[in-house]
Amino acid sequence: MSDVVVVDYGAGNTHSVRASLTQLGRTSVVSADPSAITAAPFVILPGVGSARSAMEHLTETGAADALTERFNADGPILGICLGLQLALEASQEDGGVKGLGLVEGLVVRLETARIPRLGWAMVEPWNEAFYFAHSFVAESPHSVATSEGVCAAVRKGSFFGVQFHPEKSDVAGLNFLERCLSLA
């Protein structure tokens, strides 16, 4: 069995996530297979694309139910960018999309001066810079880190979601991924 299942929802840039896992010496497989998602030692829900098509894909394949089952059984899941947003109850994106509802909260459009919010930004309280590329953002009581006033991470039970892209955040990102994997 691979160390990590990277959940496939049809539009994600899964190559970069897998490349960073390889750099960290972990094996990975891209899959939407429900049994693979429930059984894997670690699951990453990656993040590129639109909320609606991602949710439709996850629902059709049964991956959505498998992620909920995994979360309820305390299996570790890391959500990246859209992957974080999908875990919340609902998103304003694409005219309104229901999420997985693993974590209380909503996804709203950013109100920053420039959208998309693109580039490296400090994350507090971790005091490290990570790479962001987003137009929507989480508002959740489970927020555990912020960046320039917007939610940068949420954590509830075995779900950890980050708005930034650790796989694109150089040494800081690889160190972050390694910590997530080694804690699991």
Binding site: G119, H165, K168
Partner: protein, 250 residues
């Protein structure tokens, strides 16, 4: 605002990084993967790869370059040149690029911007504009159109572009500093980020650009001396521009 970005640009032809002036006298300067790693280690915030051959025959070669670069790189990168359809963009993004850059294809078919953004998000679409004398140029800056620069940038943003890569043709390769007035005029007209390009000759030039916009593209200034990137970063910071703090591998 996120921290200003320093973005080395690599021209690629037939799977190799090349250097030349106006597409002539191209000289092989190395393997894209090795150079990408080198710039990443030196503190590049992001990279841009431009396929300057941009012919359909070469697209498979470029996809292979993208895949090999994505295997070793842990910073974002954009790929431009020869992307004329959503399928072209999909191949590049699925191979591991974060964003695609559209230039003449966006002028010819503006709906392409919207179609790619709908599939991959606005952050995945950069529209490159080669500007001179107030109008957009095509064919590597050699041919003027009758499309005014600032309205085209606004239209690209309205159609879903996530960033504008704005090159001043007059300044490109001159190393005399960026066209700050042009950069400011475009940036003031839109609410997406703008990468300034053309004219970087010194750290001060880059700092001047980063004081007015979100990112600066640098080409010859680093290709002449790739090992000089960390020093360039320090010199830019000495001009009062805060860049992202770099971490040593643990």
């Amino acid at each position: 605002m996120p921290l200003p970005r320093l973005i080395p640009c690599l021209d690629v032809a037939h799977g190799r990084v090349v250097k030349g002036v106006s597409f002539v006298n191209l000289r092989d300067v190395g393997d894209p993967v090795e150079l990408a790693r080198h710039y990443s280690d030196g503190g590049a915030d992001e990279l841009v790869f431009l396929d300057i051959t941009a012919t359909p025959d070469e697209s498979a070669t470029m996809v292979d370059v993208v895949r090999r670069v994505a295997d070793v790189l842990a910073i974002p990168f954009t790929v431009g040149g020869g992307i004329r359809s959503v399928d072209d963009a999909s191949r590049i993004i699925e191979a591991g690029a974060d964003r695609v850059s559209l230039n003449s294809a966006a002028l010819a078919t503006p709906s392409l911007i919207t179609d790619i953004a709908a599939r991959f998000g606005s952050q995945a679409v950069v529209v490159a504009i080669d500007a001179g004398d107030g109008v957009v140029h095509t064919h590597g800056g050699r041919r003027a159109t009758d499309i005014a620069t600032v309205p085209w940038a606004a239209e690209a943003a309205a159609r879903g572009a996530g960033e504008i890569l704005l090159t001043s043709i007059a300044r490109d390769g001159q190393r005399s500093g960026f066209d700050l007035a042009l950069t400011q005029a475009v940036r003031d007209a839109i609410d997406i980020p703008v990468i300034a390009s053309g004219g970087a000759g010194s750290a001060r030039h880059v700092a001047e650009a980063l004081a007015v916009t979100d990112a600066a593209l640098i080409a010859s200034i680093v290709h002449e001396n790739p090992a000089g990137l960390p020093g360039l970063r320090r010199d830019i910071e000495a001009c009062g521009i805060a860049l992202r703090p770099l971490k040593e591998p643990s």
